[in-house]
């Protein structure tokens, strides 16, 4: 039997005390131990980015970390983006610009985009495209994702001034 460890995952401001094997991936712990299933698993080898979350201040792939490595750190997932009934500008922009079809890659793209726009509100278009090219989408052909992120960037800059 593999020994289990008591850890606390802080997800969207709420503590989840859980007991996990050290080999348990962070994405499995977020989904199955903490019940936050908005974060998706697409490849489990760090390429598709469907499991992207924000850990402290970094967008990371939750399939490539162990849950124990996130003990006590601040995790943000797609469930934490909206403020009650009010959607985050990036969520609204994805709806307005048809930036999703099946919606499976969407949480990963949302977290990736939010993280980059929060860290670098004035990021150049080229740099932003470079960041977004790190996640895979199989439905949209990407153009509407780009439009949505551009619109959200403008909205977030407006809100910040």
């Amino acid at each position: 039997m593999i020994e289990k460890f008591d850890i606390t995952l802080n997800i969207n401001g709420r503590d989840h005390p859980i007991r996990v094997e050290p080999r348990r991936t962070l994405v499995d712990a977020i989904r199955d131990d903490c019940g936050q299933t908005g974060t998706h698993i697409g490849c489990e080898h760090g390429i598709c980015g469907a499991c992207t979350i924000i850990l402290d201040d970094d967008a990371v792939r939750a399939c490539l970390m162990f849950a124990v490595q996130a003990d006590g750190r601040k995790i943000r997932t797609v469930e934490g983006l909206a403020d009650g009934d009010r959607l985050h500008p990036i969520q609204q922009a994805f709806i307005d610009h048809h930036g999703l079809q099946c919606g499976f890659c969407t949480p990963g793209f949302l977290m990736l985009a939010v993280n980059v726009l929060e860290r670098q509100p004035d990021i150049s278009d080229d740099e932003m495209l470079d960041v977004l090219a790190s996640n895979l989408c199989r439905c949209t052909g990407y153009q509407n994702i780009i439009k949505a992120v551009r619109a959200a960037a403008a909205e977030m800059r407006k809100a910040a001034t």
């Binding site: 895979l136 199989r138 439905c139």
Partner: protein, 785 residues
């Protein structure tokens, strides 16, 4: 044959035809989706497959003792544990050829394994990590047998005394020998389409639940064709239709591969019943790349006979279809589709096609978005480019000359063989449409620009391809619509949502006819316990067939609403309209509504409840059911245009522009149709340039992660341009719809090949897809660059 009047355009409609936001989106952007992995039952077991690690061999021994000793393991099954479970059946069992039935896949391998990934055993454990540990401990001893990896090699042995070449499908019309005898020139090409597939971002998942209290088996995680799969499971498991139900949640992409019936779906059901515990299985990505249907791989040896002007006298095509290790739910239908659609929108004097359906020791293959069409369009348009080069005729002029002229529409392509379905093309002015598309792309200017760039030393070129699509296969689909006492509308369909926006499309169609806000329409799909029949979401038929069923049902319900309202409001029904969910007197067009009595749909529903005295023999409530029936499919069409440039040093092909022009008849939601076209086009670029399931000679799969199987990323693709026209609505359904799921991908392989040839100035250079950088370099080296 049905012939409906030309339907109104969107400017005469309230919501149908308008690019409104999707009703699917709010839960999906909040992380509230219910994908297969999100489904969980208390006390569930987790299943893990043990898969063959060699491509072909006899099973000598399977030893599960060590696995069973692991705490938390409930059972390990091999085929000996499920002797009564038959092989996965064909969806259209009565239509499938008898010759291919022995080639169906058993749920767990019996005696032999035939591809790397073939399920050999299933482990059931309390925890998915433990199940995976235990699967690693199952010892499988296999005595290797000769491996066959190429469908055009001499056939091998599938089973004792049974060859890997069960079937050759043939389609023909006209006098092919006379066509070649009369030819001014004969073109011969040897063309290969690579093995690739849909690869949705969500892997497959299946959760079996047995409700012992009611003796009902439930399969969760169903997709694409839940009702059709239910029928198959009823046959396979010897159940009555009331004893099994399939439930579709959110589906993370379908593309033809997701939602077919696979071994794992059957296993979780059988296990759930036997163990009396829910059983959950989620595929991992490696499994997804070796176990979920592959597609596309064909090699065509094609000859074309043309007259002096390049007119197509005859096409003679012999091809080898690499089916992989087993025949799955579609039977041999991709072979048939490839040849029936191969001549496309061109007028061809004579045609002879022979498709050799061959088993190999690779992952089984089936349909992927535009099945048979991506392949056939590549072949046909390569032939067109070759004719143009040989005779020195402009590529565009040659295609235009060969298109079926508008004056000959509707035009039926029929075949000599008994049972080979004819293609009764319903509407369209192909040459007129082609001109419109060329002008929109600014073809002449763009082609001249590429020529100038080549003169300056760049490898830049343009490509063109014309394609025909098929959609809306019947014979019929039904729907039920109800208005509840709050005024909310529920549309129950047997359709399916694979992420394409099914709910929004159905809500728009319903809202238009019923006079309600589409955002207040709840659309049920993929639930076999809500409606007995359904055709699901495949072959671009959901919008055409289910959409017209919803339209017919909404029209019927509207009639019921108005007849009750006429009584209550003491106004003739003909003078009433339903606007934003309220029945009121119709205003003269353009003038404000006259004041007068009105009633909201929710109030009306309450007034006609079971205790109502208005019913006078009628059933209570506001509910209607109706069907849409059609004898024939519909035929949308389009053209692809591309500009590429090539880096001679690396062999990288950069697609600078890609445009799809498409006549869809009528678009229900142009925003979503553009999304379908763009998404399909980018998948097509994957098959044209990047994606390939490669195999070693011993049958080892070489593309088993996303680091080996390269799907396009955002930096690999241009913005996809679209031109949607509605000049040729189908006369075969009241809404004029033709379906839009497959056009985006159809001729992408063809158009990229055409553009690459042009860029390097070597006609016929591209004979194989995908044109990966090494293949591009090889082409350039061969020509001395």
């Amino acid at each position: 044959m049905n012939s409906y009047p030309v339907p109104p355009r969107s400017d005469e409609r309230r919501v149908l035809g308008h690019p409104v936001p999707r009703i699917e989106d709010p839960p999906l952007v909040r992380g509230h989706g219910l994908f297969a992995g999100d489904v969980a039952f208390t006390h569930q077991l987790h299943m893990r497959m043990v898969r063959a690690a060699v491509a072909h061999g006899r099973i000598v021994r399977i030893d599960a003792a060590a696995a069973l000793r692991l705490p938390g393991v409930a059972a390990v099954w091999t085929s000996a544990d499920i002797p009564d479970v038959p092989a996965i059946d064909f969806r259209d069992a009565s239509r499938a050829a008898e010759e291919i039935k022995p080639y169906r896949q058993p749920v767990l391998a019996r005696g032999r394994v035939r591809y790397v990934g073939d399920p050999v055993a299933a482990v059931f454990a309390n925890d998915p990590y433990v199940a995976e540990d235990a699967a690693d401990l199952v010892e499988v001893e296999i005595e290797p047998l000769p491996v066959l990896v190429s469908a055009s090699d001499p056939p091998g042995e599938f089973d004792d005394g049974r060859s890997t070449a069960p079937l050759t499908v043939r389609h023909s019309f006209g006098d092919i020998d006379a066509a070649f005898a009369a030819a001014h020139a004969v073109i011969e090409l040897d063309l290969t389409i690579g093995r690739h597939s849909g690869v949705p971002l969500e892997t497959r998942g299946a959760i079996g639940f047995y409700d012992g209290a009611h003796d009902v088996l439930e399969l969760h995680g169903a997709a694409k064709v839940p009702h059709r799969n239910k029928d198959t499971l009823v046959r396979m498991l010897g159940l009555t239709p009331a004893q099994i139900h399939l439930h579709e949640g959110h589906t993370g992409g379908g593309f033809g591969v997701r939602g077919e019936l696979y071994p794992e779906d059957v296993l979780v059901l059988v296990a759930a019943k036997r163990f009396g515990r829910p059983v959950k299985w989620i595929e991992d990505r490696r499994e997804n790349l070796i176990a979920t249907n592959h597609s596309r791989q064909q090699r065509h040896k094609v000859r074309a006979a043309v007259d002096r002007d390049g007119r197509m006298l005859g096409i003679d095509d012999e091809f080898f279809h690499d089916q992989g290790a087993y025949v799955r739910t579609h039977g041999a239908s991709v072979v048939g589709r490839t040849m029936s659609m191969l001549t496309g929108a061109y007028k061809v004097g004579a045609y002879r096609a022979a498709g050799h359906f061959r088993l190999t020791n690779k992952t089984p293959a089936a349909t992927y978005r535009a099945p048979g069409r991506f392949e056939g369009s590549f072949v046909r348009e390569r032939v067109m480019d070759a004719i143009a080069a040989r005779l020195g005729i402009d590529r565009v002029a040659l295609r235009r000359r060969n298109l079926i002229p508008a004056a000959e529409m509707p035009y039926t392509i029929s075949f000599d063989e008994a049972g080979a379905e004819e293609l009764p093309l319903d509407s369209g002015d192909f040459p007129g449409f082609f001109d419109k598309a060329l002008a929109h792309f600014r073809w002449a200017e763009v082609e001249a620009g590429a020529k100038a760039r080549r003169a300056a030393g760049e490898l830049a070129g343009t490509g063109v391809a014309f394609f025909l699509e098929e959609a809306g296969r019947g014979p019929r689909d039904g729907a039920q619509i109800s208005v509840d006492t709050s005024g909310a509308v529920e549309v129950i369909t047997g359709g399916a949502s694979v992420g394409q926006g099914f709910e929004t499309v159905m809500a728009q169609i319903c809202a238009e006819a019923l006079g309600v806000d589409y955002r207040g329409v709840r659309v049920v799909h993929g639930q076999t316990d809500r409606i007995a029949h359904g055709i699901g979401a495949h072959a671009a038929r959901a919008t055409v067939l289910t959409g017209n069923a919803v339209h017919a049902t909404a029209v019927k319900l509207r009639g019921l609403v108005l007849s009750y309202a006429a009584e209550l409001l003491q106004t003739p029904a003909a003078e009433l309209d339903i606007i934003d969910g309220v029945v009121r007197k119709r205003g003269k067009s353009g003038s404000p509504l006259p004041p007068g009595p009105s009633i909201a749909l929710g109030d009306l529903a309450r007034r006609v409840g079971p205790a109502s005295d208005l019913l006078a023999g009628r059933n209570p409530g506001l509910t209607a059911q109706a069907w849409f029936t059609t004898e024939h499919t519909v035929f949308p069409f389009g053209a692809h245009f591309a500009v590429v440039r090539i880096d001679a040093g690396t062999g990288r092909v950069t697609v600078e522009r890609l445009m799809i022009a498409y006549d869809v008849g009528r678009a229900v939601n142009p925003m979503m149709l553009e999304g379908q076209l763009a998404g399909g086009a980018v998948q097509g670029l994957g098959g044209a340039l990047f994606e390939e399931f490669t195999y070693a000679e011993n049958g080892d799969p070489l593309a088993v992660t996303f680091a080996d199987y390269l799907m396009p990323t955002l930096s690999d693709v241009p913005p996809i341009e679209t031109l949607i026209t509605e000049d040729a609505p189908s006369p075969r359904n009241p809404l004029g719809l033709k379906g839009g799921g497959e056009a985006g991908i159809n001729a992408v392989g063809a158009v990229i090949a055409s553009a690459i040839d042009d860029a390097i100035g070597i006609p016929g250079a591209v004979t194989q897809l995908p044109v990966t950088p090494p293949r591009m370099r090889a082409i350039l080296r061969k020509s001395g660059r």
